[in-house]
Symmetry: C2
Subunit: 316 residues, 2 copies
Amino acid sequence: MFRPEIKVIDCTVRDGGLMNKWQFDDTFVKQVYHALAEAGVDYMEIGYLSSESAFDRNVVGPWRFCGEKDLQRIIGDDEKKIKLSAMADIGRIDYEDIPVRSEGSLDMIRVACYVHQIDKAVDLAHHCIDKGYETTINLMAVSTVGPRDLEEGLNDLAKCRVPVIYLVDSFGAFYSEDIEVLARMYMERMPDKTIGIHAHNNQQLAFANTISSIISGINYLDATLYGIGRGAGNCPLELLLSFLKNPKFKVRPLVKVIEEQILPWREKIDWGYFIPYMVSGVLNQHPREAMACMESDKKNQVTEFYDQMTSVASGL
Amino acid sequence: MFRPEIKVIDCTVRDGGLMNKWQFDDTFVKQVYHALAEAGVDYMEIGYLSSESAFDRNVVGPWRFCGEKDLQRIIGDDEKKIKLSAMADIGRIDYEDIPVRSEGSLDMIRVACYVHQIDKAVDLAHHCIDKGYETTINLMAVSTVGPRDLEEGLNDLAKCRVPVIYLVDSFGAFYSEDIEVLARMYMERMPDKTIGIHAHNNQQLAFANTISSIISGINYLDATLYGIGRGAGNCPLELLLSFLKNPKFKVRPLVKVIEEQILPWREKIDWGYFIPYMVSGVLNQHPREAMACMESDKKNQVTEFYDQMTSVASGL
């Protein structure tokens, strides 16, 4: 039997955009939007919410900003078909640039932060709550946080008004056993919160770790079409909906939009399982070096990359 | 701490050969052989053991036969560096074509069978034991076997002299929970046997299911370099050795041989995560239709494939 509390959040445009500077055209974003709605996905995270001054529109596409005009072009004249979410990075959005919810098209704002930024994240998320939004705080790179800092961070989060706190495996370093232990810790420290999972696929464990999360009681599940996302990518949405039992979910619209919009991008950008990403995941390192390797002409010189990364990791 | 009973069996040439009719040249097989030995892998499954009359050497490469001359070219003049295994299919090897172990280079023969072939598999495996070999029986496509047939099959296997029985997820259809349930059943029905796992990666769960197997007490673990293998491929060996704690295992030789020998094949044949394989895995179907789709000019027409397969699966 399915668990009605489970919500699925598609991050195709937001996390996938980290691979192409959000250069998805409107046709892409519209087709993803309609496919997700038809598939019964609960939220579409359509990009990052940023102030116009934070980035240059000549360099990054519209989904680095999620301006209301951009959103309106996708929604068109019909009623909105799926809840829309945007991610906010601390320091890249001025509070006054966040519209009141009732005046815009976004439903949820998810604040991403590292453990030392929790106070700032809570402040920003509270501001969003006061403007009418659903909110989450996504605590990134937990695989690098020591037990004392994590305990303190979770205790702080437990006291805030944000209802959903995410466990984020930014580096794709976790095994399912890590997820079980952390999920238990999150739920014990924050008994009033809903917990979410955002997994990366460096070790081909994003889907498996999302399943472990479900079994552990986590209810907000992030995924992307065909796993598109930074580096090794994310939990593939089509696998997740095939696994979930809720009859409202339909897989066919996902397969169709993968054929029409995602496979063409597969020819242009490399997300998924590649040795550089596997190495950074195993070593619990940020994927930036692996991404640089994949974008260079040394993409296939994986032994050299392995040697570099293992000497960095061991401090040699 | 590591579990010394765990043995890792590389199936790169045997299972990977299902994608290219075993057309690996000697340099490929030699480099894989040396890399596996250096990495501390326990067995190299170098191909299938077949009678010369069963296949045409003009159509399939030498590793469909594993003749002693073929093996000798790989081993060379030095002492053998790693135990060698070959898989035997029922009906494709005449008993008289199997040499006595002491007269050849193979150490282990693994007999693959479907549930209705268990009697024949036991007979062939006993013959191999009597010729001095280590043996396993690999019970394929268990995801399609009903509980009564499986119970009877496991009871028969429990009585035989073969020490290792494999759980084979031929279609990549299992979730970790299925593995846990089946592992328990295998161990309860066959308390004197060692259990093995051979997973396929249709749902990106081959590595996760191999970890679940380890946790469930399974000790023989199949994997391949970069996951090469039929359809979606197998559990990637480099991920498995990175996970296992035994200090005898080394990952670098695997990365090196992937760079030098596997990545060039990646340009020529498509194993791994593709929508046709995902669909056949989710539907618990043999990958033959998905492989035919991937080899056709309709490789990217995945919606049409999905529609075909779902109407087949639902009997429409």
